[in-house]
């Protein structure tokens, strides 16, 4: 085991390998306040990468209804439970948030790596604390959630009957969209006995070498997010590849510029933004003030990592849903929740502009610039003074090409009925 620094935990932690960081890191932000669970992202991914034999139960991107659902069933609750059993009452946060090295304070509990060391099985101590979901848990995403299902056979030109009689939710819920977090300390990589999993130095995307993998499924057991999958037809594991040809700029649609993944680009609710961020030698984020991801995560601090206490330093960040009870959100996103929601519900001038960048272009935005506009109105929102400015935000691609230009008060266009369903 090595000592590595995990900035999301604000401390050093145990990891089976020495720290090694990419030059740039694949990262993304999802705004859960806007997700309507339409599964367009899921199908964009499915139809691009996992449509072949043996991949039927493989959903690199999934959207689950929280708190009821999860894919595989109960993935987060089970891992949280294992950690609690390993360290009863000790999974807590303390200390003050400081700089980029401890923006959420310090985690005092055990990570999946640290808990694994004391979890002695038949083969000795585990590299990572985890569990292998059953086949049944993988086979039915969104089971018992809120998608309409039925035993009727579909036919052309006819909707399923009874779709309007969906069960009514009685309490709060929200949709959680998930892909592989391409963690800085991947548990799948740590657990692989074949060294078949590697993290690309150019963009931090985590991949499974299909030549080396022998399908031991240790990665599936170790990944706390359960984002590696076994393919019975090849007897190997597969996982989200971060649409790396697009990120490399090899998709023709991008004209040679790095593009966002298929799931990000397809999102109709414009809840997603993906990019590449600069990484320091110690694994912290290099200051890049006008990179939209750096701004959202380290300046505005409205986007938080998913279950940071697992210790893998995930690179997926979420703007938490405003209406969900805070204890649940704090368990899911850590102690930064209150500040994030406060900031998101009372956005300042820059945040309002940056939020407009979501979903505007398939190419990755590396830098933004704001041109000040006129004041639209002044008011008081939730006891705080608020002024809305119709600023213009401009986004630039890697080579400085202008790819986005929009205003805070966006024009609202409605496609006429004649062309409502045409492209």
């Amino acid at each position: 085991m090595s000592n590595v620094f995990n900035w999301q935990l604000g401390r050093e932690m145990e990891f089976p390998y020495d720290a090694a960081f990419p030059d740039q890191q694949f990262a993304f932000v999802f705004n859960l306040n806007r997700c309507i669970g339409c599964q367009t992202c899921t199908m964009a991914c499915k139809s691009t990468w996992t449509f072949s034999k043996g991949q039927e139960a493989m959903w690199w991107n999934n959207v689950e209804t929280k708190p009821y659902g999860g894919y595989p069933h109960g993935w987060d609750v089970k891992t949280l439970d294992l950690l609690e059993q390993s360290n009863p009452g000790g999974q807590t946060w303390a200390g003050e948030a400081t700089d980029v090295r401890a923006p959420y304070g310090q985690f005092k509990g055990k990570t999946v790596f640290e808990a694994g060391m004391t979890h002695i099985g038949a083969e000795g101590a585990n590299r990572v604390l985890g569990y292998l979901p059953t086949d049944e848990e993988w086979t039915a995403p969104n089971r018992f959630e809120d998608n309409p299902t039925g035993s009727q056979k579909g036919s052309k030109g006819r909707y399923f009957s009874g779709g309007e009689a969906l069960p009514q939710h009685k309490t709060w819920f929200f949709y959680l969209a998930r892909i592989c977090n391409h963690c800085s300390y991947p548990a799948c990589l740590a657990a692989c006995p074949r060294n078949a999993i590697y993290k690309r130095p150019e963009d931090g995307i985590v991949l499974v070498d299909q030549e080396r993998c022998r399908g031991y499924r240790k990665c599936m057991e170790a990944c706390p997010y359960k984002k590696t999958y076994y393919r019975p037809t090849t007897r190997t594991s597969e996982k989200c590849i971060g649409c790396f040809p697009r990120v490399e700029g090899r998709d023709q649609a991008g004209g040679g510029l790095p593009m966002q993944t298929r799931c990000m680009s397809a999102c109709i609710g414009q809840i997603r933004m993906q990019g590449l961020v600069q990484i320091n030698k110690d694994g912290t984020w290099k200051e890049d003030r006008y990179n939209p991801l750096y701004y959202l995560i380290h300046v505005a601090k409205v986007a938080l990592p998913l279950y940071p206490q697992f210790g893998t330093e995930p690179n997926g960040y979420y703007i938490p849903p405003r209406w969900v009870p805070r204890p649940y959100l704090k368990q899911m996103f850590g102690p930064g929740v209150d500040a994030a929601i406060e900031r998101y519900a009372n956005p300042d001038r820059e945040l309002l502009a940056v939020l407009q960048l979501f979903g505007k272009d398939q190419r990755i935005c590396f830098r933004y610039e704001i041109k000040e506009g006129t004041k639209v109105f002044e008011n008081e929102i939730r006891g705080k003074k608020f002024a809305l400015y119709n600023d213009t935000i401009i986004g630039y691609a890697k080579d400085g090409t202008k790819i986005i230009e929009t205003t805070v008060e966006e024009p609202f266009h409605v496609r006429n009925a004649k062309h409502a369903n045409s492209i």
Partner: protein
Amino acid sequence: MPKDEFDFDDPLELNGVALLTDEDTSGAICECFIEEFLRMGWNHKQILALFQNPAYLGMNMVLQNKGEQFVRDQISDAFARWGKWVEWKTPIALPGSARVSRAVVGVAPTTSANSQEPDESPTTRRDAASSTPEACAPQARWEPIHFRQSIASACACGSDGPCDSRSVPAAPLDPLGNPAPDLTL
């Protein structure tokens, strides 16, 4: 979603989930969704249509639990906070709310960013569309909202409730108030 009874012998059957159900967050989810759509440029009538649509589960849940008057009040308040004036011309009579559905705080926008035309504000846009308000029958009483009914309620004539005007096409309308396309899937 299976409609049959629970099978307690089914190892996959979900028999119970512990939730923090003591907290009623209807107001917060309502406010959040209104502001999200408001920021995207939707007007009050379009947002109300979303709440009436059972396909939008979170929003419809609030309407079912709290009633349409609650949602209208929240929409009015949110628009007022964001400097936009909303006036409902067809108030509905619902149990438990005697509040006049009209925002009384905030100021009218000094300029509209999308257009210099004052008609672009939510209220005036609706006013312009409802040139013949007498053709519309206000919703007389609270009824469970059916999917097709909710679509039809976003009538192009400008009514907030169902419309029986002969001047309006009988075809169902989408949540934006346009005639829904006849899909041949």
